[in-house]
């Protein structure tokens, strides 16, 4: 187990290293960053000054090492779009709003998905199972950005129950959270269903039934406890996918989180902030998959020796 964890952490570090190379080369691929920063009527002197200031005349590997060192120190430079703020500071600030949205969305989608998944497994091929399948299918087919607009149209424009966008009261978080969690409901429900089907088929569930326990106790206590392991490990993946989901959802609902920061940075070509966001996203992704793999290996010893 220890060997597996060490190996897996090593792989994670290699992936992070590769991401840093990709991030670095993305910003250098289309010529000098000075082109973006300087206006059209900039003189050669301006170019030279900027190039000197940013070390653009140094050999590439040296520039990369400086970049890597700065990333490790959490220093990615100042934002161009928001002067006076460092890119690092901005990403951390905005992460809080995204975290709030993600946690709320996660709890809502779990509360909805787990019972439906269990009911679908218990009533396999009955109407409730079909309802579950329809939800799963819609979850895969409805584009989230459009779903958000439809919600706005129904609940904010027509019914006037909820505010259209922004962050503030509890009412503000409802629609973005639903939009974000929609796809996850489908995924968790399907996982829950298949894992529950396996669990209902085991010896200990049969034993519980023979003992004369009520069906409710058999399903919701004995079977569910064991079936919950698979979806639990999936939560790492969900957490990571909320990050990408945040870009779309926060754009639709003007939620001031990390996703809308990414979009604003892209629109204003703020390279330092884009770099910070990409590094953060990749870091969370790699960390999440690391945790998931270790959890899996802990729960299922066969994986350790592959």
């Amino acid at each position: 187990m220890q060997r597996f964890i060490v190996l897996r952490i090593g792989q994670g570090l290699i992936a992070l290293f590769a991401v840093s190379i990709i991030v670095f080369s993305l910003t250098r691929l289309t010529g000098s960053p000075a082109d973006v920063f300087l206006s059209v009527d900039a003189t050669q002197e301006d170019y030279d000054r900027i190039a000197e200031q940013w070390g653009l005349n140094d050999p590439l590997y040296q520039q990369y090492l400086v970049f890597l060192f700065n990333v490790l120190r959490g220093d990615l430079g100042d934002s161009w779009r928001w002067p006076g703020h460092t890119a690092f500071e901005l990403t951390i600030q905005r992460s809080i709003a995204t975290l709030q949205l993600a946690l709320f969305s996660l709890s809502v989608s779990t509360v909805i998905a787990v019972p439906i998944g269990v009911m679908a497994a218990v009533n396999k091929d009955r109407p409730i199972d079909w309802v579950g399948k329809v939800i799963a299918l819609l979850g895969q087919s409805v584009p989230p950005f459009w779903m958000g607009l439809v919600l706005i149209w129904i609940f904010a424009v027509q019914l006037e129950w909820l505010p259209t966008s922004g962050r503030g009261s509890f009412k503000h978080i409802i629609m973005p959270a639903i939009t974000m969690g929609w796809f996850q409901v489908a995924a968790v429900m399907r996982l829950m269903r298949s894992s529950m089907l396996d669990s209902l088929d085991t010896e200990y569930v049969k034993l519980a039934r023979i003992k004369g326990l009520t069906e409710r106790k058999v399903v919701w206590k004995h079977a569910l406890k064991n079936a919950a392991i698979t979806p639990l490990t999936y939560f790492g993946i969900i957490a990571a996918s909320f990050l990408t989901g945040s870009v779309v959802v926060e754009t639709v609902f003007a939620w001031p989180g990390i996703g809308s920061l990414a979009i604003e940075a892209v629109r204003s070509q703020d390279y330092t902030v884009i770099q910070a966001v990409v590094v953060l996203f990749a870091g969370v992704f790699i960390f999440a998959s690391l945790v998931v793999d270790i959890l899996y290996a802990y729960l299922d010893p066969r994986i350790r020796y592959q």
């Binding site: 691929l29 289309t30 009955r126 299918l137 409805v142 584009p143 607009l149 779309v248 892209v266």
Partner: protein, 299 residues
């Protein structure tokens, strides 16, 4: 069993029967295929004949006309017009061409790259396998949206940007799946016999390994058409996909976003087109998978 229960059971079995016949019907995916033809393929091919209006230009006098069944609508613009007076119905028809072409090219390039590397990784093994699989890990680690945003800034929104992003997203899935299949096939008897009879590695891959993974390829590709259409629409919606004024569905939804309070039809109908098309494609993909390779249910 009392009378009420008996009644409930009968009702259940009636409903169950109805659902069963729906499921039987599902074995011949007639409705999905019809939706795909009507919404995606036919308009994509005959867009110029079918669209009643110009897709990129409109009259400013005809701005924000509601759909024909609403007050103020006209039968000339069935689904209404957008903020510069372009006919939404015509733009949806033209948009299907973008969706179809992007998904075909994107899946082809991602599939070819991923399959090629997957074949090599699985068949050659050793260091080639290690390097390729680490690349897959990295590919899956860097989120597609972020990659797309970074690329969109550098290259600007364009057709090529979308294709590169789609390829980047898809290849790792193909590579991982195909590698697994190859590992299974490789240990089979006929591969060893082909080796003994002196066939070259290239010939073995081409004649003996590849034909055994084509089912997986077909299933993966059909299941991904819908995914790619949503991905392209999302990129266009975020402004890093297809550039204006090309009529792409995601872009049309983005254009309608500001008008959601006053002219909801601008965003609603293109989104509906995406949803129905993707729904039909997923149903079709599911039924193809069930027929060709039920073991792929987890994909």
């Amino acid at each position: 069993m009392n009378g009420q229960e008996q009644l409930d059971n009968n009702r259940m079995s009636f409903l169950g029967g109805a659902f069963k016949s729906v499921r039987r019907f599902n074995h011949y995916p007639v409705i999905p295929i019809l939706i795909i033809l009507v919404l995606l393929v036919i308009p994509a091919i005959f867009a110029d004949l079918l669209a009643p209006h110009e897709s990129r230009a409109g009259g400013l006098g005809d701005r924000l006309i509601p759909p024909m069944w609403l007050e103020g609508g006209s039968s000339e613009y069935i689904l209404g017009t957008d903020r510069v007076g372009r006919d939404i119905f015509s733009r949806i028809i033209h948009g299907s061409r973008i969706s179809l072409v992007i998904s075909l090219i994107g899946i082809a390039s991602g599939g070819i790259l991923g399959t090629g590397l997957g074949l090599i990784a699985g068949y050659v093994g050793g260091w080639a396998d290690a390097v390729i699989m680490r690349l897959v890990d990295i590919g899956l680690a860097l989120p597609s949206i972020i990659f797309a945003l970074a690329l969109g800034v550098l290259m600007g929104p364009s057709f090529a940007t979308v294709i590169i992003v789609v390829t980047y997203v898809l290849w790792a899935y193909y590579c991982r799946q195909i590698r697994g299949e190859v590992l299974r096939v490789k240990s089979r008897d006929f591969i060893a016999r082909a080796k003994v009879s002196g066939a070259s590695d290239f010939r073995i891959i081409r004649k003996h390994v590849f034909p055994n993974v084509t089912n997986t390829l077909i299933v993966l590709a059909t299941l991904q058409v819908g995914f790619v259409i949503v991905l392209e629409a999302t990129l266009s919606f975020l402004g890093v996909g297809i550039p204006r004024p090309t009529p792409a569905w995601g872009l049309m939804v983005a254009d309608g976003r500001e008008y959601i309070t006053s002219a909801w039809w601008i965003a609603m109908f293109p989104g509906l087109a995406i949803m129905l098309t993707v729904l039909a494609l997923n149903l079709l993909g599911d039924s193809i998978r069930d027929r060709l390779d039920p073991t792929l249910r987890q994909v």
